[in-house]
Point group: D2
Chain length 285, copies 4
């Protein structure tokens, strides 16, 4: 599947009628397992990538190059349509242009640029700060202008619900929508009323990061097309690592681990052993 | 801990009296979890790195740069003494010199160079082939000469037990030991008798990749200091991924996943959140 | 210009009637200067990349990742159709597939795979050795199969003229042409008669690395479409560096260097300062 | 030479009595030519690296990873003590810590962190803005804390002379000196009086970026130990490229280029051909 086809598939979801959740993926192995499980879309957030690459919390410490390297590992290994949370775009509007260039090149299907001040400013690291509406519009226009493939999906992400009163949030979203972006990402949503207020001013498809107590049909009816579900898979891997290491360090052999391991034939399938053996037959004989 | 200190710790294990097993690690997260579990040594094999980075089987398809990038992710995030299986050294003896340069720079504590022909030659991909003894001696001397830090541990790895009769294996090992390497790595060991035969001609510490049916005290008594236990953690992560993805794709919410997730406080500890918060207090206020 | 458009431009040259020479380029700056000078095609050879990245001679010491990194620097900065000499494809036929994957992703327009044994084998490093015809056919088929964009140009390069009698060379070329490659690259050509002998058996466009004493119309009449002219620009830069460093180290100020420097307005043009200033106006205000 | 030895050599220059100028270097080739010319110190500025890697002007568009990649290319190929202008440290004080980690790992000898707001803020891109003194002190302390090797040289760079009245500049420098840095870098110096005013409050060695109309003995007498001379070598290479490309594109053969090329024996020396041939003899035979 070409990058453009992956982008068109994501676009079709946004322009459809259902609410879809992507799999959190972060390396070639997770991409392959997610694909084998039946997923067609993946997401890599800055926080997950920072944990895998740096072992660091979500504090804007990873470079764009490091992030793009992980994206590429996923897109090379799978046909997933990969969406990323590109944080604030790694700097000002001109840095955003490079972010789009690098991530588009890495093969992703869509990205969100957020209106948060990142990294934290001196003296105010405890609080969330939003950039101004004109600054965010500059970033969104820069994002759209920097695309080479017009099918690349661009989403305006706002953290305003966590900082500002609802009417200001609505005003922001209305402005963001004028930039030509393909969708709006609301983080920190708490109620369906907030969602209704936003939907009253924009018709763009909505992406949500969390939706406490809301069911999928309520979300679908309100234009939510992409619904992130957190990044549990990272903690699941951490537990699997911990269980394995603790078992072995206690002097037990690897045999006792069988119940918590993927079967060898599953591993062979996700590593595409049959494909490589076929290539050996075709080209190395 | 400096790279030299990490190397000296590995050296002390090889020169000690016990048999130690390292944790298989492959990214910053696994390195942190292994360290938290109590490990002081880690191993990254080419096969595990290829699975994580490429989603590919163990067929010498990964570049030295990709492998070094993963090593660096581990050494940056942890104080583990990292040992790697550097396959055949990524080419001829001059490529071996670059391999040592890049991997030493990435911060590892020790590496093994193996006497296998890799990648498979045209027409013979099904069978294991060994390089000649003089060629292997050239590679080992190149490895030793390319070290900048003399504390970097260099191990000669042989697959001869899987290919040649025992007396030829013994002859190989005796020759390899003359190069000045710090230890011998025997892959494919099946019996204690094989081990005894090797020990009769060399006093160097032994590394093993598998030791079916042998117990640790038998190994320790025969000079085995480093005993790899396979790479179960990769299959454990694959199963954790699969369980998570299957659960979520079936429409269940993330809440039901709690039993298979590392607790938030565990995640905070392995991501060193407290350190970063302290640095924010110290330098961003 | 998209990668596909760059590839189609290179393809049009190969299928045209003229003999074209590409500019040797190796980083973003050289790519921009070449483009400004009027070039539409660039070439990066392994030897030039090794000199820039490693300071090493042409001995297959650079990794595929390092080479792809340089290619990407060129393709990101310019619209040149970039052709590369990908040596032996960095290993066996399966490694060739990765080479194609990585270099195609880096945005190149065409690549040549050569029939030389690389890196040098133990004990025979002084002499050129060719791989067998079936092995080369396996590599060429693997190259063609690994392309994602069918417009990517694939050339079979042979060093046979430097090793074998002419009739064997002709036999090789005839076989290589059956694989479906887009052209034949002859290195070490000495006479027009050699060229005529090859042209008697294949109609594919020819690429040449050197053509001592032959003029362009003779070459064009015999199907030569791409003619490399060596990599003088690297030695020109080395001399410019040497002149600059020697001048300054002797205690002379930078002012005396003006005659050997590109003018500030030239530098501003190749660094696209006007574009960036326009983007600042559009998106940062 | 180990990284620590390279750092101690730079430290000895700062603590000496002479004014030294480093060579601007940006890849392995330039590092080798500079070393062959007699330089022991090199400098890589963000602007030069951005030109080589991105073909972009000096607008903070390059990632830390890209910059570190170029540094590593220089330090791997040469024994130069490499000093870098690390701009604002690629973000806030926590990003500065990663900058130190990555650049120290890349093998540099010293770095300067500057008190400029970078990248340009929305709406104010035309003007230089300084961060506050407390913010800069936080960054300097973070830099010093993030060093693993205490011999790594840390310099506080200020652009205050280009923005503030002299008494404010002096106050800044006095504060910066309290952080424990190894030196002060003044950019935009216009007169010896400015230098005298700074020297009246600090005894730390001074680094200068330009010193119009001042001679070396005046500078040495005032504690200037490191004096950058601009980056003419980049424009010299651009002219060499332009001359070569123009010559060849006009249909002239490479032979006519001899006068502007480094001789083959010079190229062989900077590419260390003799070393590699010796290694082939030692390890590949």
């Amino acid at each position: 599947m070409t990058p453009t086809e992956k982008r068109q598939r994501l676009r079709a979801i946004l322009n459809g009628t259902e609410t879809i959740s992507p799999a959190t993926v972060f390396d070639a192995l997770s991409a392959r397992v997610a694909e084998a499980a039946g997923y067609s879309c993946g997401i890599l957030s800055g926080s997950v990538s920072a944990a895998i690459v740096l072992g660091a919390p979500d504090m804007a410490l990873q470079t764009l190059s490091e992030f793009a390297h992980q994206v590429r590992s996923i897109t090379r290994a799978s046909d997933l349509s990969v969406f990323v949370d590109a944080d604030q775009g790694y700097g000002n509007a001109l840095n955003v242009m490079r972010t789009v260039e690098e991530l588009e090149h890495a093969g992703l299907a869509g990205l969100a640029i957020e209106d948060l001040v990142m990294p934290s400013r001196f003296g105010v690291h405890g609080a969330l700060e939003l950039i101004s509406i004109p600054e965010m519009l500059g970033k969104l226009k820069a994002t759209l202008a920097a695309r080479r493939d017009p099918s690349l999906v661009v989403i305006a992400r706002t953290a305003a619900l966590r900082v500002e009163p609802l009417e200001k949030v609505v005003a922001r979203v209305r402005e963001y929508a004028t930039s030509g972006v393909d969708g709006i990402f609301l983080s920190g949503l708490k109620t369906l009323e907030q969602l209704d207020a936003v939907r009253a001013v924009v018709t763009l498809p909505i992406t949500l990061g969390s939706a406490p107590g809301m069911n999928r049909s309520d979300l679908a009816a309100r234009g939510v097309r992409f619904h992130l579900q957190g990044h549990a898979v990272l903690a699941a891997c951490a537990k699997a690592m911990q269980d394995t290491y603790t078992h072995l360090l206690a002097g037990n052999g690897p045999d006792g681990l069988q119940p918590i391991l993927a079967a060898p034939e599953v591993m062979a399938r996700v590593l595409k052993v049959a494909d490589y053996e076929q290539w050996e037959k075709n080209y190395l004989n």
